[in-house]
């Protein structure tokens, strides 16, 4: 699963530790999610969506979906 955690965190200028504090998880967990080594459970994904005040589907997408979006974007641009 792909996610925009790092990007959203960068916009808010939060460190991984700050985000971990807001989610009440370890920094290792934030790092593992950002690097794609771990997919969060549904409750944690909802908590992340709540912290960033965004719908869950705008933060997490299936890897195939992202690839499909890129393909469609490429077709639209005539690539």
């Amino acid at each position: 699963m792909d996610n925009r955690l790092r990007e959203l965190r960068a916009i808010r200028k939060w460190s991984q530790a700050e985000l971990a504090d807001r989610l009440d998880v370890s920094r290792q967990t934030v790092n593992a999610i950002e690097t794609g080594r771990y997919d969060p459970s549904l409750p944690l994904a909802f908590k992340i969506a709540d912290v960033f005040a965004q719908p869950i589907e705008s933060i997490f997408q299936p890897a195939a979906q992202t690839a499909l979006d890129r393909t469609q974007l490429g077709s639209a641009k005539g690539i």
Partner: protein, 137 residues
């Protein structure tokens, strides 16, 4: 620019403090029990209570197991998965080492005590290495 290398999160600090408080006294008690029993030769067969004395280190070992259980309960979801995967790998290595030891012992290679130590140390090492690899930042 976001920083990945900052002070640990409050969750980590809380967990480290509790882990230290739980595990360190148990580990010290285990080492002390092992040293006292081994150095004073308290488990020699001449002692009436040799079986009970030989099993004394089991008490701090159980204490350590309880500390591990509490650590698992305190972990967040990613850490819990990592701990359980590492424990599974450690268990598989220990089982494989026990089987290997049994087979080689049947072929008159090494003693039971040696193979037990190898099994124990191998299992613990595999567990610790697997955990470190899984939790790397």
């Amino acid at each position: 620019m976001t920083s990945n290398r900052t002070a640990p999160a409050e969750f980590d600090r809380r967990q480290n403090r509790a882990g230290f408080r739980d595990a360190v006294p148990a580990a010290i008690a285990l080492v002390v029990a092992e040293v006292v029993v081994a150095s004073l030769n308290l488990h020699a067969r001449t002692n009436r209570w040799h079986i009970a004395v030989a099993l004394i280190p089991l008490i701090p070992a159980c204490w350590l197991g309880w500390a591990l259980w509490r650590m698992l309960r305190r972990s967040d979801e990613f850490q819990r998965v990592a701990h359980l995967e590492a424990l599974a790998i450690g268990f598989a290595v220990a089982m494989l080492a026990a089987l290997t030891g049994g087979l080689l012992h049947a072929a008159d290679v090494g003693s039971t005590a040696q193979w037990l130590q190898i099994t124990f140390i191998g299992g613990i090492l595999a567990w610790v290495v697997a955990l470190a690899l899984r939790l790397r930042r």
